[in-house]
């Protein structure tokens, strides 16, 4: 334990000293070579990852809104979660779908999984294997949850299933007829859902869910997306979009909120919270580089100024 602490302190010292050295150099007007920047970024991500630095998170209102919605819906409510992302985006948004699946099932709601991205289907199945089969072994596929998978057509899929699921979906991913699944009794369309959640960061994604499903069907819609697309979704909050998990920070906030409420999940993995350590440090390093860049610019002498 103490060993790793020493390692941590030394690594942080190295990063800090390196930055100071670069700072001094920049005061002499010297530019930092690109590879050195790359090296520092690599270090600042690796060190917290290896030594497991985490920070505590407090949920912001926009994240809390999603948590509270799931928390306050009566038990047995129907919640649909769409996997609208691919493997490349997974590190950033998968923690969100993971923790929301846990929350929905822990609260006793019915969970419907689907995907507007082709890759969403297998990611959904993977989530079933990874989370539901492990943490909720008593839940029955087709009764407590179901994965109906992917259909091609982007937002066109939403246009159809907002009036009727069965026009596009006849079976779930395991090839079972929807009508034979108890979870699909009395479900005709998206309008029969109590909450729609889209997790993804590209097209089609949260925006399309709001425009083509939540709005026309008048169903509350929440989202989770990569940090980069979150500002584009703010205009929809809170009237059309009930809440939003933006980037890994949103996931981390949700995870800590969830753990606070559900003590039995105390040792659940927290990819979001865990990722915040490297993010924070790398973030600090990038800001340090911006400062260094400006210093070297100002001290570089008149000749270099434009």
């Amino acid at each position: 334990m103490s060993n790793s602490n020493i390692g941590l302190v030394i690594s942080l010292l190295i990063i800090g000293a390196g930055l100071v050295w670069l700072l001094i150099r920049s005061l002499q007007g010297k530019e930092v070579e690109r590879r050195i920047i790359f090296l520092f970024i690599g270090l600042s991500v690796s060190v917290p990852l290896l030594f497991n630095i985490t920070f505590s998170e407090k949920a912001t209102p926009i994240v809390r809104a999603v948590f509270d919605k799931i928390e306050n819906l009566p038990e047995g409510s129907r919640i649909l979660l769409s996997f609208d992302y691919g493997p490349t985006m997974a590190p950033e948004v998968e923690p969100m779908s993971d923790v929301m699946i846990r929350h929905v099932l822990a609260k006793g709601h019915k969970l419907y999984l689907m995907g507007l991205w082709a890759t969403g289907q297998s990611l959904g199945s993977a989530a079933v294997e990874r989370i539901i089969k492990n943490d909720f072994p008593n839940m029955v596929d087709g009764v407590d949850y179901v994965n109906i998978g992917y259909k091609a057509g982007n937002q066109g899929v939403l246009n159809v299933i907002v009036t009727d699921f069965r026009k596009l979906y006849s079976t779930d991913v395991n090839g079972r007829d929807l009508d034979s699944l108890p979870i699909f009794n009395d479900i005709k369309s998206l309008k029969d859902m109590d909450l729609l959640i889209s997790v993804g960061g590209g097209f089609p994604g949260v925006k399309e869910w709001v425009q083509f499903a939540g709005d026309p069907g008048n169903v509350p819609t929440a989202g989770g997306c990569a940090a980069v697309s979150a500002p584009l979704l703010y205009p929809y909050y809170p009237s059309q979009l009930l809440g939003l998990l933006g980037g890994i920070k949103g996931a981390a906030e949700y995870e800590s909120e969830f753990k606070k409420r559900y003590k039995q999940f105390g040792d659940m993995p927290e990819p979001g919270v865990k990722m915040m350590g490297p993010q924070t440090l790398a973030h600090l390093v990038i800001m340090a580089f911006i400062v260094i860049g400006n210093l070297s610019f100002f001290f570089a002498g008149k000749g270099r100024r434009k």
Binding site: R34, T88, T163, G202, Q211, F212, P216, V228, S229, L232
Partner: protein, 409 residues
Amino acid sequence: MRQKLIIIMCLLFIPALAAGQESVITADSSLVDTITVVPPAPVTDLIAYDKNNDHGHAIILKWTPSADDGAGKKNVLGYSIHRSLSPNGPFEERGIAAAGDASYNDVGSKERESADYMADHVDYYYKVRTLTADESVYADSEVVGPVQSYGQWFNTDRWMVLIFVIGFMAIMIFMINKARRGAKLFVRRLAGIEAVDEAIGRATEMGKPILYVLGLGTAAEIATIASFTILGRVAKKVAEYQTGLIVPCYDPIVMTVAQETVKASYMDAGRPDSYDEDMVYFVTQSQFAYVAAVNGVMLRELPATNIYMGKFFAESLILAETGALAGSIQIAGTDEIAQIPFFVVACDYTLIGEELYAASAYLGREPVLLGSLKAQDYAKAAVMVIAVIGFITIHFGWDTFVEWFHVAN
């Protein structure tokens, strides 16, 4: 049927609960009433008509709720809608409306195979049944009909879009004609576009090729089509100066079109012999594999200039930074809003949004294309005027004007 009744009862209680404590008690007592068999008053003024602005297969029903709905005997639990092909029945139940409702939308499927299929241009007859807690106690309205569903040939909800389309088309054709007749149209200079010309000159001096990236859009994307036009101009200059050109493509159709475009430019420049089919080639339809390959080209061929025009996504910064690393001059243009910041930060010149579409007109300086730019400017001026009018009308509470601009999906 019992389940249905439970649902209806719940529906009845919702408004009752909302009305407060006192009415809950009355609702309770009304429940007792219903057990004694008293038929409610039927609905009146029932009308049925085709739903407007749709593809058919839907009929709207409207009525005045039963006198006992929320008043009088207060024993109404809801309404069931029944449809038949003849006024005498047999009637088929189509759906249920809650107590207090005065309309129902009977929407059927358009697929013949569907069990829910509802034929157009067929006489239908409707009646509305007022339901009570007791299945056997109800009151039927008079039968209305015949009524037919049918599709419309014009969606009147969308006339605002039509006005804009026609209006814009008219301004554009007018301006283009004006330009063709030789009117001088002033268009200000744009730094990013002049840079394209300079960059080609620079590449010639350095004896290095130009890398042109069309982005990840399909040939159907308008941004890509604008990019084709710019590629055409660039290729023509390249052909004149005898500089190299590299165009790696992400989409096979884009590759096909780009080949046509470049070939045409070489012919225009009078150098069809210098055209080589392999200047424009397909890489792969996988985002990051494409990026990996383009990065490789940048570091190995060291192009003098990289031009990125079209649709870009997360790869924008990877491309632009690698290009900066290779020391190339970089000019970018995209309408993908989320990526503009990265291009602005990492490239020498960036065409922001609309400037990408303007670029093709600038580079050509052809009167027809300049005419369309003018039309765009008039449309923008119209937007500002409309915004001001909207602001004034909102202030004075005259909402009709604003309503016009809400186009239904």
